[in-house]
Amino acid sequence: MADSIPLSGATDLTPEDKHSRLFLEVMHEWIVTTDHKKIGLMYIAASLMFLAVGGIEVLLMRIQLAVPESKFLTPEHYNQLFTLHGTTMIFFVAMPILFGFANYMVPLMIGARDMAFPRLNAYSFWIFLFGALLLYFSLIGGKGIYGGSSVPDVGWFAYAPLTSKAFSHGNGSDYWALGIFITGIGTIGTALNIVVTTICMRCKGMKLSRMPLFVWLMLVTSMMAVAAIPPLSAAQIMLLIDRHLGGHFFDTQAGGSAVLWAHFFWIFGHPEVYILVMPAFGFMNEIIPVFSRKAIFGYPAMVAASVGIGFISFTVWAHHMFTVGMGAAANTAFVLSSMIIAVPTGIKIFNWLATMWGGKIQFTVPMLFCTAFLFQFTLAGLTGIMLAVAPFNWQLHNSYFVIAHFHYVIIGGILFALFGAFYYWFPKMTGRMMSETLGKWHFWLFVLGFHMTFDFMHIVGLLGMPREIYTYEPGNHWAIWNMIVTTGAFVQAVAIIVFLVNLVRSHFKGELAGNDPWDAWTLEWATTSPPPSYNFAEEPMVRSRRPLWDLKHPEDPDWKYEFETENEMTAHR
């Protein structure tokens, strides 16, 4: 592995005290830690655990749907499983794992020693974990253990009035509302923390215009989270008031409004999609340039597109509601906003292509995942355009086409980018490389399983199969597609197992990574792998967007070019 020229003073050569410690001591250290890196790793570990749980849930569902009229699960259990699967994957896997990476990487990338509020950071993590465990406590809480009736079974968007006391007996909806509400507190805390960290904690010379794009995207994402989570939290409190204090916000039998809940939920829910995908864009922005051996193409355009998506994403929510009877004028408005958001997203794709253009692309495992992302996310964006066309949406809405579309976004896009990030930053986090061989097995198996599952899911949606049904009639030609989809799901499961094996094996036996195994350019590669608790012995100082490039290429540094463009702009002004 290529060793880079160390950034002056970035690493401290004082040997660490390595006496062996008791297990309890280690546990204590992790539980009381306020170190952003440890907290980041705990986020990632907890998310991986919930990924396994959510994955097992969906495998059970896919067994049920593989053949028509299956008796494998009862309707009650099926409905509980898809509620748990959706809720788990969004709130306990996707969000915390992305915020986990941000927790680990943002301070390192901006040359800071920790987050702005380390104790808030620890609080956010533990309150998130508590919320998640509270939801899963419904399995055994209340009447749970006798019949599972305390497990929520209202779908992950929990449409009113199905959640009202009259239609949702037991405590399932309460567990859902409270569990997610509490998790939301943690998310808001972390998001605020990231915003303040990026605004206040950047090292010398790191102007906003020199921040790595991943940090930019996390800044936008965090601002979005601060604005998007509270509507959901408010709605959940209102729901609890309805259920326990006799309120009538969503209780349609007493004049409440079902559409109101839908508005609340999607005012959270659509920005949420971008809250999940923007960090993935961030991973792409870091990984693609390094393995194309080129600077990112159009940095200012990328920043502008990200901020643009951040704003526009708050205007598109009702494209989830084209069928609730909003009227032609309202539908038209949301078609327009949903179409427009495709433009900045397209700009990003083109800029990544231009970054690769003319480069020397090294197809390491992280780059493989990013390349697949480009294919799949393009497709996901295009099915998104189809869904934004309101009349087309009247047919596609709530069909398996929609399920296929958003899994293309979340798995084909976000999860692929996330796997790329794992292979890319694992050496920094542990000091060891992940196995490329196992990584390639993981990649190709996952590509195969992903396409088996989600390509054919589009077709069964076009053939009229609605979502959230526990079984279907044998007569309507859905069976063969469902069988393929189920098979694909198991192939994906195998790929995930390969990945987990790779993680564990590499942690103990992986090749030593050194500080900078990928010959990369951002600050996190200037310190040791894993970084010391204080990250950098001395505050780094940067003169451009790629400080390590400047060090490695003193004859052609970035800062010269950036200085010139800035001067040019000033001259124009």
Binding site: K294, A295, G358, I361, V389, N398
Partner: protein, 364 residues
């Protein structure tokens, strides 16, 4: 040419329904031709299956289909462009074993190029937006012609109630409407959608897009089936435990058949003295508090109207054939087939079940 081609021709045999401004329908047979893989029957189904959104048989579904094909073609062109560029980049710019160790030239961006790939997509989405808007208004704001039939659809957990205010008819799960096969005299059916409990969604893919039945709100939609026959659909908004078993069947009939059906539905329930015992059991149990049989004391509205039960092909919201054997099993314990359904098992003796079912099967 095989069955697919004839299907496609049939789909476009209604010139009045196709906007003269959109001639993309010429492309569809080509596209479907292209989609056909080695096992063409699988892909044929996309355009012929009785549930497919790409096999429209009703004016609003046709309009949506036209628009969908246009959108599909545009998005396919975009995908081919992007994927082509990506493939080119992967093949052309991958690092090769013999390459020198020099970094490639660093290019930081270009305002002209950025402008190009901002403006061109804006133009594309603007075209897509305008075509969408035309169809949105054309379907959602279509004026209701005088001759149109009005039906009120009430969504229940987990079955459909259809009320015909003009005729005073109430039926369940199987919607009968007149066919509209004369282009000069369209005969649409306007559906007023309400819910008795939670949200549902009325979706019969070949007839129209879906519209939700929102609790506490009145929505509407219209269908205009152009060929006689049965059209299948089901509830498309998760509505609780038995959401999966809430199917819709729409029977499009010739005006004469439809009037015959109406005339029969308007009659009170058949009173056959030979099954008086069954009627007595029915009327002396809680059956009457949920079910209506016109002309008897049974006047409940919580469950399906049974006045003409035997005029329906199915029971249990379109999921079971309406046979004597199925009725017996159903009356005995509805939970066996549809766990959690709102009809309780009445704990009747086998003899009483037999009596009741004997009575029910006379209700033509």
């Amino acid at each position: 040419m095989n069955s697919l081609a004839t299907e496609s021709v049939r789909s476009f045999g209604f010139p009045s329904l196709i906007s003269p401004r959109l001639h993309i329908h010429m492309l569809i047979p080509m596209l479907s031709e292209a989609l056909r893989g080695p096992d063409s029957s699988l892909f044929d189904r996309l355009f012929t299956s009785p549930d497919s959104i790409f096999a429209p048989r009703s004016a609003p579904a046709h309009e949506i289909f036209q628009l969908s094909m246009f959108v599909l073609i545009v998005t396919a062109a975009i995908f081919v462009t992007v994927a082509g560029l990506l493939l080119h980049v992967i093949l052309r710019y991958r690092q090769r074993p013999g390459d020198d160790n020099h970094e490639p030239p660093q290019i930081y961006g270009s305002n002209q190029i950025e402008l190009a790939w901002t403006v061109i997509p804006i133009l594309i989405v603007f075209v897509l937006f305008l075509t969408s808007v035309r169809v949105i208004f054309s379907i959602q704001n279509a004026p209701e012609p005088k001759q149109a039939l009005d039906v009120t659809v009430v969504g229940h957990q987990w079955w459909w109630e259809f009320r015909y205010p003009k005729y005073g008819i109430v039926t369940a799960n199987e919607l009968h409407v007149p066919v509209s096969n004369d282009p000069n005299q369209p005969m649409p059916t306007y559906l007023k959608l309400v819910s008795a409990d939670v949200d549902h969604s009325f979706w019969v893919p070949r007839l129209a897009g879906k519209t939700d039945l929102m609790a506490g709100q009145v929505n509407d939609m219209w269908i205009q089936p152009e060929a006689t026959g049965i059209y299948y659909g089901q509830c498309a908004q998760f509505c609780g435990l038995e959401h999966a078993r809430m199917l819709i069947r729409v029977y499009a009939q010739t005006p004469a058949d439809f009037q015959k059906w109406v005339a029969n539905q308007e009659k009170p329930g058949v009173q056959d003295p030979s099954v008086a015992a069954g009627r007595a059991v029915f009327e002396h149990n809680a059956c009457i508090s949920c079910h209506t049989i016109k002309g008897t004391v049974a006047g409940g509205r919580f469950g399906p109207d049974l006045t003409h039960l035997m005029s329906r092909d199915t029971i249990a919201a379109g999921t079971l054939p309406n046979t004597r054997a199925n009725l017996e099993k159903w009356v005995k314990d509805p939970d066996l087939y549809k766990p959690g359904c709102k009809m309780p098992a009445m704990k009747l003796s086998d003899q009483d079940v037999d009596h009741i079912v004997s009575y029910l099967v006379t209700l033509h």
